[in-house]
C-alpha cells in the first residue's frame, strides 16, 4: 500500500490501476504527476478543486437533470487529476478505432443496399430486421460519400491485463465532447506547470475538425455549404454542448421550428428571408426528426426532411438508421464484420457478449445472473441495466422475467473490473473505476483528436460512469 501522504488511503485491487504499477511504484509516465502531488501542501488540492468548480459554474457548463422543475441545471462533476495515456497506448487505440469505424460504415451501407453480409450468413438477418433502430426508410438511399456515421463516440474500458476493449459504439448522437474541451481549458488554468512539463497533445482543433468533416458531406455542387447544428432545444440535457459546438464552429444553432422544407429543399427562416441549408449536424434522434416519416407527435423535427434527404438535397450527420449498428446484440458481430469487410483481425477486442435470443446462451445467463451484467440492446445512458454482483434477489427476478418475455431486447456480459484511477474525493485521493470515450470524426478521412472523455464512477465501488447516474469526468492527456 502506498503510504506517502496524499495516497495514504489509496487501495490497490485486482482491477488495473492507471497510476500504480505496484505498492508505492507509479508507472513511469505517472511518476512526475505523483511526485508533484506529494510536494503539494495538504490544502492545495482542495483549493484548486474549488477554483475548477467555480470556473465551470461561472461559464455555465451545466447539464439538465430530467424529472424536476427549476434549478435543474447542474455542473458536471469534474475530477482534478488527469488521466494519462502513453503514445504507444494511444497508437493502438487510434488504429483500432479507425478500423472499427470503417467496418461499421461498410456494414451500414451494406445492410441498406446489397446485404452481402446477411446473404453470407455472417450476421443473422432476423437480428438486423428485429432491431428497433433499423430504418426501412433508408433502404436504397445513398448518403454523401457513403458516410453513415461521421461523428462517433466509442466507449473503451481497460481490462485487468492492461488491454483496451470496446464496450459500446455510440453511432447515433454521441455527446460529451464539450466536456472534453472544457476539462482541458480548466486544467490548463489549474495546473499550468504540470501541463507544460508533461508535453500533452493538443485537442483544441476539434471544432475546426468537426466543421471540416461536416463540410465534406455537402451535396454535390454546393461549394460554399451552409451548415447548421439542429438541437432539440433549451430543455435538452446537452443544450449547453449544442450552443458550445455551434459557437466553436461558427454555425447557426437551429431548432426544428427554424427549418422549412419546400420542394425537397431545406431552408432556415432568417430575418433576411429563407436561406438554403446544405448540411445538418443533427442532435435530434431519428424518431423525432421528421413527423411525416417517423413519430407524428414530434414537435422537435422538420416536416419533409426525410424526403429532402432522400433527394440528396441535404446531408445529415449522422445519417438516419445508424442505431442498428450500435444495437448491443449487433455489437457482438463487429469483430466478424471487421473480418468480413476488411479481412483484418480486430485491433481492439470486444467484451464477451451473450445473446439472449440463443437458447443455450440464455440458459447460461439465467443460471448466472448474479455474476453477469445485463443490458437492454437499444438503450444508452446506463438505463435498464442489471449489474449482477451489486443486485438484489428481487432485481434479478425482475430481469429474469423481462429476459424471458423479450429475449431479443437484452444481452449479457461478464462483470468486468474496469480500470481504476486516483480521484480527489472529500479531501483524499481514492481510486475509482474509469472508462474512456474518444471522439472519432469521419469525413474526407478519419480523424481522432488525441484524448477523449475519461468518465469516472464517483461512488465507491460503482461501475456505472454515465453522467445521468452520478458519474463525473477527468481530463485525458495523450503524451508524445
Amino acid at each position: 500500500m502506498p503510504d506517502v501522504a496524499p495516497f495514504r488511503q489509496y487501495q490497490l485491487e485486482t482491477a488495473y490501476d492507471e497510476l500504480f504499477l505496484g505498492p508505492n511504484t507509479p508507472r513511469p509516465h505517472y511518476r512526475l504527476l505523483s511526485e508533484r502531488l506529494r510536494e503539494l501542501p495538504p490544502d492545495e488540492l482542495a483549493r484548486r478543486q474549488q477554483a475548477a468548480d467555480l470556473a465551470f459554474l461561472n461559464q455555465g457548463i451545466t447539464f439538465t437533470v430530467y424529472g424536476r422543475d427549476e434549478g435543474t441545471e447542474r455542473i458536471f462533476p469534474y475530477d482534478l487529476l488527469p488521466r494519462l495515456l502513453t503514445a504507444k497506448e494511444w497508437d493502438t487505440i487510434e488504429r483500432g478505432l479507425a478500423q472499427r469505424v470503417t467496418a461499421l460504415n461498410l456494414f451500414l451501407r451494406d445492410i441498406y443496399h446489397e446485404e452481402t453480409i446477411l446473404k453470407a450468413g455472417v450476421v443473422p438477418r432476423e437480428l438486423v430486421y428485429s432491431c428497433r433502430h433499423f430504418s426501412r426508410q433508408m433502404r436504397g438511399v445513398s448518403v454523401p460519400r457513403d458516410r453513415y456515421v461521421s461523428i462517433v463516440g466509442t466507449d473503451l474500458i481497460r481490462l485487468p491485463s492492461g488491454q483496451f476493449a470496446v464496450l459500446e459504439d455510440n453511432l447515433r448522437v454521441p455527446s460529451g465532447v464539450s466536456y472534453m474541451l472544457a476539462n482541458r481549458l480548466v486544467m490548463k488554468r489549474v495546473f499550468p506547470q504540470l501541463f507544460s512539463s508533461y508535453g500533452v497533445r493538443s485537442i483544441d482543433h476539434y471544432g475546426q475538425a468537426l466543421l471540416a468533416t461536416l463540410r465534406s458531406l455537402a451535396p454535390q455542387g454546393r461549394s460554399d455549404p451552409t451548415i447548421v447544428l439542429l438541437t432539440p432545444g433549451v430543455f435538452n440535457s446537452a443544450y449547453y454542448e449544442h450552443t458550445f459546438l455551434a459557437r466553436q464552429m461558427g454555425v447557426e444553432l437551429v431548432e426544428g421550428r427554424d427549418l422549412i422544407v419546400h420542394d425537397n429543399v431545406v431552408y432556415m427562416r432568417t430575418t433576411a428571408g429563407l436561406r438554403r441549408v446544405d448540411v445538418i449536424y443533427r442532435r435530434v434522434d431519428d424518431e423525432f426528426i421528421d413527423p411525416l416519416a417517423f413519430r407524428p407527435d414530434s414537435v422537435l423535427g422538420v416536416a419533409g426532411l426525410l424526403n429532402a434527404y432522400r433527394a440528396g438535397n441535404v446531408a445529415l450527420a449522422n445519417a438516419l438508421g445508424t442505431g442498428v449498428a450500435d444495437d448491443k446484440a449487433i455489437y457482438a458481430y463487429v469483430p466478424a464484420m471487421i473480418k468480413f469487410y476488411l479481412d483484418e483481425d480486430p485491433i481492439l477486442p470486444n467484451v464477451e457478449t451473450f445473446l439472449l435470443s440463443d437458447d443455450r446462451q440464455r440458459q447460461h445467463v439465467l443460471n448466472n445472473l448474479d455474476s453477469l451484467v445485463v443490458k437492454a440492446v437499444g438503450e444508452s445512458g446506463g438505463y435498464d441495466m442489471l449489474i449482477g454482483p451489486h443486485s438484489t434477489i428481487e432485481q434479478r427476478s425482475q430481469f429474469r422475467d423481462r429476459i424471458i418475455a423479450n429475449p431479443r431486447n437484452y444481452i449479457a456480459q461478464p462483470t468486468l473490473a474496469l480500470s481504476k484511477a486516483p480521484c480527489f474525493i472529500d479531501g483524499k485521493l481514492e481510486s475509482r473505476h474509469v472508462d474512456l470515450r474518444p471522439y472519432i470524426l469521419f469525413g474526407d478521412q478519419i480523424s481522432i483528436v488525441p484524448g477523449g472523455l475519461t468518465r469516472v464512477a464517483l461512488r465507491r465501488g460503482s461501475l456505472v460512469v454515465n453522467s445521468s447516474q452520478g458519474g463525473g469526468s477527468k481530463d485525458t492527456w495523450v503524451l508524445y
Partner: protein, 314 residues
C-alpha cells in the same frame, strides 16, 4: 440571423423594459404612500392596475397586491415572471449574446429568486431599486459595452424602445384621463410628481421647466422632448433607427413598409405641438400613437419573423 433568434432578442428587450417599468411604478407608489392619505393611495393602486392592464382578484390590500406584482410566478405581470421570461429567452440565444450579458441577467434572476416577500417588505426600495432597476441598467450597460452593435443589438433595442413608447403612452393616457388633466391643475401635486418619477423624469423635467409642475408641460416633456431618453418621441426615434439598421442589414426591399410606418410615428412626434394636441384631445392623440406602435410590431413580425414561406424564397 435566424428569425427565432430575432424574436427572442426582441422579447429580452421588451421583458426587461417592462420589468424595470413595473419595479419603478411599485417603488414610486410605495414611497408616495408615506405622504398621502389612504384614499389617495388607494386611487393610485387602482390606477397602477390600469397602467399594467392587470386586475388583482380579491381585496386589494397593499401587501397582497405588491406580493402579486413581485413574487407571484403565476402572475404574468409580476417582476419574477418578467425577469424569468427575459432569462429564458436569453438562454435560448446564449451563443448569440456575450457571456457577460448572460451572466449579469442570470445574476439578477438568481437574486430575485433568492429574495422572500418578507425581506422585500422590510426594505422595498433596496429590492426594487438596487436589485432590479440597477441590475437591469447594468445589463444594458454591459450590452452596450460587450455586444457588437449589429443586428443582434438592434433587435434588443427595438424591443426595449417599443415597450417604452407604449408603456409611457399608456401611463400618460390613464393619468390624464383620471385626474382630468386640465391645464395648470395644481391640486394634486404629489400625483403629478409621481407620474414624472414613474418615468425617471422628475429631475430632467425640473432642468427644463423648473420645479413648476404643470400638466401640459409634463405632457410635452414625456411625449415630445427630443433629448430625454424616457420620452415617447425619443423611443420612437430609436425604434425607427433600429428598424432602419435591421432592414439595411437584411437587404432587399422587404423592410420598406415597416420603415415607412416607423418614420410616420417618428414624424408625428417630431412635428407635434403640445397646445394643438391638448386642444384636439390628448386621449385621441395617445390612442393613435399606441395604434401605430401596434402596427409597427405586427409589421416587424410579418416582415422579418413569421412571414409566409411563399413570399420569401430567395
Amino acid at each position: 440571423m435566424l428569425s427565432r433568434v430575432a424574436d427572442s432578442l426582441y422579447w429580452i428587450g421588451r421583458y426587461l423594459e417592462r420589468t424595470e417599468h413595473t419595479a419603478r411604478l411599485l417603488d414610486v407608489n410605495l414611497s408616495l404612500m408615506l405622504d398621502q392619505t389612504p384614499a389617495a393611495a388607494e386611487r393610485r393602486w387602482e390606477r397602477m392596475q390600469t397602467y399594467l392592464a392587470w386586475n388583482y382578484e380579491g381585496i386589494p390590500q397593499t401587501y397582497a397586491l405588491v406580493q402579486a406584482l413581485t413574487f407571484d410566478v403565476s402572475n404574468a405581470s409580476s417582476l419574477v415572471s418578467g425577469i424569468g421570461a427575459a432569462r429564458e429567452n436569453a438562454r435560448q440565444v446564449r451563443e448569440q449574446i456575450s457571456s457577460e450579458m448572460w451572466e449579469q441577467l442570470n445574476r439578477v434572476y438568481l437574486q430575485v429568486k433568492r429574495t422572500t416577500m418578507d425581506q422585500m417588505w422590510q426594505e422595498p426600495h433596496e429590492f426594487l431599486h438596487n436589485v432590479l432597476k440597477e441590475g437591469i441598467h447594468l445589463f444594458q450597460g454591459i450590452t452596450t459595452a460587450t455586444l457588437s452593435h449589429g443586428e443582434c443589438w438592434h433587435w434588443l433595442r427595438l424591443g426595449q424602445f417599443m415597450e417604452r413608447a407604449m408603456a409611457t403612452a399608456i401611463l400618460l393616457d390613464v393619468h390624464f384621463a383620471e385626474t382630468g388633466g386640465t391645464p395648470d391643475d395644481q391640486t394634486n401635486y404629489l400625483d403629478w410628481v409621481g407620474l414624472l418619477k414613474s418615468c425617471t423624469s422628475f429631475e430632467a423635467y425640473c432642468n427644463v421647466y423648473t420645479a413648476d409642475i404643470r400638466p401640459e408641460r409634463i405632457a410635452e416633456f414625456l411625449l415630445l422632448n427630443a433629448e430625454s431618453p424616457r420620452s415617447v418621441r425619443f423611443a420612437a426615434d430609436q425604434v425607427a433607427a433600429s428598424i432602419q439598421a435591421i432592414a439595411s442589414n437584411t437587404l432587399g426591399r422587404r423592410g420598406d413598409r415597416v420603415k415607412r410606418l416607423a418614420g410616420r410615428l417618428q414624424a408625428s412626434l417630431d412635428y407635434g405641438q403640445v397646445d394643438e394636441i391638448m386642444a384636439d384631445g390628448l386621449s385621441g392623440y395617445l390612442a393613435t400613437i399606441q395604434q401605430q406602435c401596434q402596427q409597427i410590431h405586427t409589421n416587424v413580425y410579418q416582415t422579418f419573423i413569421s412571414y409566409p414561406v411563399e413570399t420569401a424564397l430567395v
